[in-house]
Amino acid sequence: MHIPDGLLDVKTAVAMGVLSATGLGVALRHVRLHLPAKRVPLLGLSAAFVFAAQMLNFPVLPGVSGHLIGGMLTAALLGPSAAVVVISAVLIVQCFLLADGGVLALGANIFNMALVGSAGGWVVYYLVSRAVKGLFGRVLAATFASWVAVVVAAVACAGALATSGTASWSVLLPMMTGVHMLIGVGEGVITAMVLTFIAKTRPEMWGDAAAAKRSQKPEARSQEMGGGQTVNPTGTERWGAVIVLGLLICVGLALFVGPFACGWDDGLEVTVQQKGVHVSEAAEHLIKVPMPDYKMPGLGDGRVATGVAGAVGTVVVFGLAWVLARSLVRKMKPAVDVGGSE
């Protein structure tokens, strides 16, 4: 999803640069004020971790291998503002060291992957893990939020490219979201597995706010690993950064996606059909649960059909996340009780 230079025009790049610079500034300020000093080195090391983790490939389809993106994983482990800093650092290094992602497009890449893909995903994660309690709820939330984050980031990426006039929205949107709905499934599964493993081996590293507070109190315990104290907003004073980040994401999406979402072109029918085939085929391959075709019969208008298809897809992914989280959590039940009670 790294946009290279030369595909965005100057106005889009600058506008997205301003948005992400503001977001990064807010995140940095929040981290500086609220992150315990002993966790400061963890930011840099987490960035190195994400970089290294992105290089580990795992098989998706024959001949196709994927890798972890890690935005949502970082956000779940470190909290939204720290994750924005970490993912931005990864993107900056990838830009200046590897020329992966352009320097002018850096703002757009930070917006898509750090703000939308990480902080935006965290909002979904937080809401779902609030609604469904316990470790199961958190695994479910992380899985679902990873998928949502990847897909929305792809939509934002398509919006940026379409605003620049690189290709038309009616082509970009189905391509980007189609591919990334698949990638998102993989990302969700691998994020859930990683988090479950961490919860199993080091329950104190990935806890909800209440558990972190509990484990923070005895000093001896926190010596072990900083007591899973994420930068999660636990008190009212910490919500500021999340609200500002959320507002920035909304402004960005309204600017770059909004104009297109209101006027669809034709040609959508064909690509939607392609996408439907694509998704159901691969989903079957991956998890062996039939996914509905992405074209609902009897709905003529392309916009409505796509909206309904998107909604159905989201519900289906939520269901899949539920099944996955259930099986992952059930497998490690004894370890949970140890972690939960302590």
Binding site: A37, A48, A53, F58, A99, D100, L195
Partner: protein
């Protein structure tokens, strides 16, 4: 440090390498902006791109970076641009747009490759510090670069440990391989967290304090940063030595 391929040629000695990094950074951004804002649809645009290409070729020749390396890296990174540019073929008159986008993105890519291979990363960080990029970000970037190689070695060690305990990499079904990948990633994160604890302890032992997270005045910032940077270097070295000893257990 086996992962030398990241910025292998950034420490050569050539007129381009000796240029001040800030100038190179500005020049790279300027070239990218010029290329991106070049108007299409008339021959002047193509002539402009050709001029920029000529300039870049001269810079590349002066820098002494092997052409094979540059070309290989460009080919390696080009698919990202091609993927998006191909979509432009689907619109009216897409062929011209496609060529134009490819030319533009290739030039930008070459610019960034030249920048990353003529400007050492530490120099880029120094420029960032000078233009008052927040200390927290610079520290994160510095630590990230320092531990990137350690992390990659760490990942390699985990991989080797796994391979020495299983018959083959392809053993087991897909779900098993996914589980293995997930274990490796989570193991990596756990090691990262533990390492950061040790680094923090080592930094505190060398008088780091929490000057970084608390200081707000410009006067104290530079000195705090200086001592901070130094203690980071020392701490990193020590922790690295320690951990490489531990890893063998």
């Amino acid at each position: 440090m086996r992962a030398e391929y990241l910025d292998r040629y950034s420490r050569l000695s050539s007129p381009v390498h000796r240029l001040w990094t800030g100038v190179k950074l500005l020049a790279a951004v300027a070239v990218v902006v010029v290329v991106v804002s070049m108007p299409r649809n008339f021959w002047g645009g193509w002539a402009g791109l050709a001029a920029v290409a000529g300039f870049l070729v001269v810079v590349a020749a002066m820098s002494g970076i092997p052409w094979g390396f540059l070309l290989r890296r460009m080919l390696w990174l080009e698919p990202l641009a091609i993927g998006v540019a191909l979509l432009s073929l689907l619109q009216v008159g897409g062929w011209q747009v496609f060529l134009w986008l490819m030319a533009r993105s290739s030039l930008c890519l070459l610019t960034m490759l030249l920048l990353s291979n003529t400007a050492p990363y530490s120099e880029l960080l120094r420029v960032m510090r000078r233009v008052k990029v927040p200390t927290m970000l610079v520290t994160t970037l510095a630590l990230m670069y320092r531990y990137l190689f350690v992390m990659m070695d760490e990942a390699g060690r985990i991989k080797r440990a796994r391979m020495s305990r299983t018959f083959s990499e392809r053993g087991g079904g897909k779900s098993r391989r996914w589980r293995t990948a997930a274990t490796v990633v989570s193991q990596l994160f756990i090691r990262v967290s533990e390492r950061s604890e040790r680094i923090f302890a080592a930094m505190c032992a060398r008088g780091w304090g929490d000057g970084l997270s608390r200081d707000r005045k410009g006067a104290t910032r530079s000195s705090a940063l200086l001592s901070h940077g130094r203690s980071l270097t020392v701490a990193a070295q020590i922790v690295k030595d320690n951990s490489s000893g531990n890893e063998g257990r």
